[in-house]
């Protein structure tokens, strides 16, 4: 057990003794921590600390060498990403993923899970149910775009909007998948300050509405302002976990960032 992790009352996500090596490099080295339901938990650490690897392990994109991942009390270790998503965990990516040839609202409509129209046979056996869910999803997508104040982009090509707007669309789309815990990989990287503030407000609002967040972010001001608690990762293991204040004043964290000895 890593000493840094705090015990949790009602964890929506639990990572226990997770390990992953690439060749001789232990990218994730016995990492253990939990994400309390209803929080915005920050995940920080210097470059190469293994944050993205950890995200990939949790969301099923990488297979861990050891340890377990639990979402909502279910062991999802070694499951495919879509199965992990089925248990309520959705993730976004560091670089916005472009959907060529789609408008923004089309790209949004990929979000909802378990659409009846995703079954080929239903398209012909029961087109009525497809229409019904598609109308509902479209209305929901437009409602969320409005909440995000980007409804004017709805019929724009999804590849024609700015990087920051893409991040907003990604967040909005992830919300259509109705996650219980949403993993955001650097939500404001390369986003201008105005949009970053907008993203922050949106994340806070969605959190108040009940979504739990775990986010990687390099922008310290952003993450310190938004997240509590904060988990600090260094060289693949959890260095410490605490409030923004506590983390900021922790010598070990400062050492890790400045490349001092561990």
């Amino acid at each position: 057990m890593s000493e840094g992790a705090l015990p949790k009352q009602d964890p929506v996500l639990r990572v226990d003794d997770l390990q992953k090596s690439f060749g001789g490099l232990a990218a994730t080295d016995h990492a253990t921590f939990g994400v309390e339901r209803g929080t915005i938990t920050g995940l920080i650490g210097p470059n190469g600390a293994g944050k993205s690897t950890l995200f990939n392990l949790i969301s099923g994109f990488y297979e861990p060498d050891g340890g377990t991942v639990e979402v909502n009390g279910t062991d999802v270790t070694g499951m495919e990403p879509y199965q992990v998503a089925d248990h309520g965990l959705i993730r976004t990516f560091q670089t916005p993923r472009k959907l060529e040839g789609m408008t923004v609202r089309e790209a949004m409509l990929v979000g909802p899970r378990k659409q009846p129209g995703e079954s080929f046979l239903t398209l012909f056996a029961s087109p009525g149910s497809v229409s019904e869910s598609e109308s509902a999803n479209l209305a929901e997508a437009e409602r969320i775009l409005e909440e995000f104040e980007i409804d004017h982009l709805a019929t724009q090509p999804a590849t024609d909007i700015s990087g920051g707007q893409m991040k907003l669309v990604e967040l909005a789309r992830a919300m259509l998948a109705e996650p219980e815990v949403l993993l955001l990989d650097e939500p404001v990287a390369g986003v201008n300050p105005t949009l970053a503030k907008k993203l922050k407000d949106q994340i806070r609002r969605l959190n108040e509405q009940g979504t739990t967040f775990l986010l990687i972010e390099h922008d310290m001001e952003f993450v310190m302002d938004l997240a509590d608690p904060i988990v600090v990762l260094d060289q693949g293991h959890v260095l410490t976990e605490g409030t923004p204040e506590g983390v900021r004043n922790d010598d070990r964290v400062i050492d890790a960032y400045l490349g001092g000895g561990t």
Binding site: E80, I90, L109, R113, E134, L138
Partner: protein
């Protein structure tokens, strides 16, 4: 906004590429009509060409369902086509070395089942991997199937091919005797060159109706699939498979469905070819068929069903149209001329319109869900075209 309700609005809604393609198609149809009326083009041969165009359209539809929708690179179009052709030929032909003599409908079902099994065999190991692996495996598969057909004489008659194939409608009430029952007609449009419509004409007409039915049903199915959430997941996979996985889509299953659907359509083209040509040989499995299908899809615009149809027709026009060049003295033979022309067309398209002639023009949302909402202004060009081309890697 259907054509019948309000024709003028429908035409006003056309994007520029749509207008062009429509115009060129109408002009081409008129040209063919004139050629037929003047006797330059035999009506029976014309119907054969229409059948061939339908067949290529089916092949393009099949490849479009794989590459255009999902981005699956399948280099064994000819193999699935051949499986369809041989499957139905071996079941129905009188000279079949195995069963033979069955009703063509049985042949159709058997051909589709064999194609399904083959698609599963190649899909199960490769579709979990990156698309490159399917490309490599399918390249090998095409040769394996061709060589098996060429060498396993007990099964396929080897290089002699399969003869004695009945028409598709043999054994059906009315339709099986329809060509003989119809009277021979003699039309005189231009004095001195009468047009004779005999048994073979009626036979060809039946074939054309058959391929129109095949292609029509396929087009309808693909169009609905393309606009559906199902198709949207496929398009997401094409752009970024990891994104689809992160959003909870079982991409392996979706890729498999797309691959099987496309393979079945290709086999359907093969079944039709069997009953059109009434002879099937190992030469029909040559990789050139795969090449033509790819040209058709890329030319028409990957991802567009109408584009695939258009591309298929262009291919047949080039393939068969060059035969008429025999009459004109040219420094090169028509056969290499054909490949040269196709090469020139591809280079021109890639240079000036890399997204294809008729890529998808509108956003694809289940139609009844958008009806009654404010629809966006029709753009001058399609959604896909504004990204500055070069998107189809």
């Amino acid at each position: 906004m259907s054509l019948l309700d309000d024709p003028r609005a429908t035409f006003a809604d056309l994007t520029r590429p749509e207008g062009w393609v429509l115009g060129v198609s109408v002009a081409f149809a008129l040209f063919l009509l004139v050629a037929m009326l003047t006797g330059a083009l035999g009506p029976t041969y014309f119907l054969f060409l229409v059948g061939l165009a339908g067949m290529y359209a089916l092949l393009s539809f099949g490849l479009n369902a794989q590459w255009g929708f999902t981005g699956l690179i399948n280099f064994s179009v000819a193999a699935f086509f051949g499986i369809g052709a041989y499957g139905s030929a071996l079941m129905t032909a009188s000279s079949s070395p195995i069963a033979g003599g069955f009703n063509p409908l049985v042949g159709l079902v058997v051909a589709l089942v064999v194609a399904l099994v083959l698609a599963l065999l190649i899909g199960i190991p490769t579709l979990r991997l990156r698309t490159d692996y399917l490309a490599i495996a399918s390249l090998g598969l095409a040769e394996v199937v061709r060589l098996v057909v060429l060498n396993e004489r007990w099964l396929t008659n080897g290089s002699a091919g399969v003869r004695g194939i009945p028409g598709f409608f043999q054994g059906w009430p009315v339709l099986s005797t329809f060509p003989e029952a119809m009277p021979g007609l003699r039309l005189v449009v231009i004095p001195g060159s009468p047009i004779i419509l005999g048994t073979s004409f009626w036979q060809s007409l039946l074939n054309v109706l058959l391929v129109l039915a095949f292609a029509g049903v396929t087009f309808f199915v693909l169009r609905r699939a393309h606009q559906s959430p199902w198709g949207r997941v496929l398009r997401t996979i094409r752009s970024d498979e990891d994104l689809a996985r992160a959003l909870g889509k079982n991409t392996y299953s979706f890729k498999m469905q797309s691959f099987i659907l496309g393979s079945l359509i290709m086999a359907l083209a093969g079944v039709f070819y069997t009953h059109l040509n009434l002879y099937v040989g190992p030469g029909d499995l040559d990789p050139i068929t795969t090449f033509y299908a790819w040209v058709a899809v890329i030319l028409g615009g990957s991802g567009s069903n109408r584009g695939a149809l258009f591309g298929g027709i262009v291919i047949v026009t080039i393939r068969e149209g060059t035969r008429f060049l025999n009459d004109v003295a040219l420094p090169i033979d028509p056969a290499p001329m054909r490949l040269l022309l196709i090469g020139v067309v591809i280079v021109a398209v890639m240079r000036y319109r890399p997204q294809g002639v008729l890529p998808p023009q509108r956003e694809l949302i289940w139609p009844s869900a958008v009806d009654g909402r404010a629809t966006p202004e029709t753009p001058d060009s399609g959604v896909r075209e504004r990204k500055g081309g070069g998107g189809d890697e």
